[in-house]
Amino acid sequence: MSIGHTLLGLLESGPRHGYDLKRAFDAKFGHDRPLHYGQVYSTMSRLLKNGLVEVDGIEAGGGPERKRYAITEAGVTDVAQWLATPEKPEPYLQSTLYTKVVLALLTERDAADVLDTQRSEHLRSMRVLTDRKRKGDLADQLICDHALFHLEADLRWLELTAARLDKLREAVAR
């Protein structure tokens, strides 16, 4: 999962302090793994260096935690690009996909598009596997089936999520 893109996405709704970013991240995505302050600061400084964010202001008292970050045009483009790029289908990618879907919802992009793009990519892989299975021997068939079933599980999750997008949009907006 790309913490950089996630934090960028979170900034899209408006400038935030580092501390705010961590809290927002933890609340939305970090259910069982809260983010370290250090991670936030190192990620932010990388993004700053790449021109994807800028410092919006520093409050009195000094210290890194007092910096307020805002997303740049380049940052917005980067988030859009990331969301539009399908993830390489692999086991347990839901968390990435989930993040993408939620972010799409948060940024009022079409989350269904994200899912459709992903399904298309999955199916492409599955077609290759199915074709290989049809031409291959039993070992091939079993190996392909293993992969197919995993991919199918992803796709089921996609369908399920797609069916619940409205509810998710409400939950995310809270």
Partner: protein, 231 residues
């Protein structure tokens, strides 16, 4: 969406609208398929994918939009014209409940030929060759209630192909089968269709079934999205 049917397409539709009571089943859907192509129609329940299939097959007439098959406009054709088209040019496989329970399997397969006026003997002879291809010739004399689900579905596929259709419409053809039987049915269906250069419109919600297709179309909220062409 494109304004005219993509070049070389056998069956194409655009701007389809269809309303059932308060629900808008199709709302500007488009679709096209080439000869020999297998296209999966996917989408969540209630998205209108079955309605799209029914429209494409000329079973229902859309409220608006156009459907061309081989250069002929389906939406302006009368019922008997569309029925004749379905009898001779199209084949159908459904999820279940499509075999006439009191007819034997070979009589079921011969049914579309007999609808076209083929004499009984000849129709059953042709039916039997298709049952052999689908490996169900051993149950020819049994009634649908006496054969397994997989066999029954293969009988249904044989029936869909027996008239040598240009397009086969399959609506959840493996919906009632386990995965092994489902795959066997899909393999036989797509192989047979490819060998006769028939196009297959495959409505399914199962990815592993859709994986037998050449490309997929996603229907959501009555709009069809052709993934290959959109990307």
């Amino acid at each position: 969406m494109t304004l005219s049917a993509p070049a070389g397409s056998l069956l194409a539709a655009r701007d389809l609208e269809k309303t059932y009571g308060p629900t808008k089943a199709l709302d500007g859907a488009a679709f096209s398929i080439h000869p020999g192509e297998v296209v999966a129609v996917m989408g969540p329940s209630g998205s209108g994918k079955s309605t799209l299939l029914h429209c494409l097959a000329g079973i229902v007439t859309p409220d608006a939009g156009s459907i061309t098959y081989n250069g002929r406009e389906l939406t302006t054709m009368n019922d008997s014209g569309r029925s004749a088209l379905r009898r001779s040019e199209f084949g159908f496989v459904f999820q279940f409940g499509q075999l006439v329970p009191e007819l034997t399997c070979v009589e079921n397969v011969a049914l579309p030929l007999r609808l076209n006026g083929t004499p009984r003997k000849e129709a059953e002879r042709t039916a039997l060759t298709w049952m052999q291809r689908l490996e169900v010739d051993d149950v020819r004399g049994k009634r649908p209630g006496e054969v397994s689900g997989g066999q029954g579905q293969r009988v249904a596929v044989a029936r869909a192909l027996v008239t040598g259709p240009r397009v086969v419409f399959a609506d959840e053809p493996t919906g009632a089968l386990d995965s092994l039987n489902g795959e066997r049915v899909m393999e036989l269906l797509t192989e047979a269709a490819r060998s006769t250069n028939a196009a297959v419109v495959l409505v399914t919600h199962e990815a592993r079934v859709a994986a037998y297709s050449d490309r997929e179309v996603v229907v959501r909220d009555g709009k069809a999205r052709d993934m290959e062409r959109a990307v």
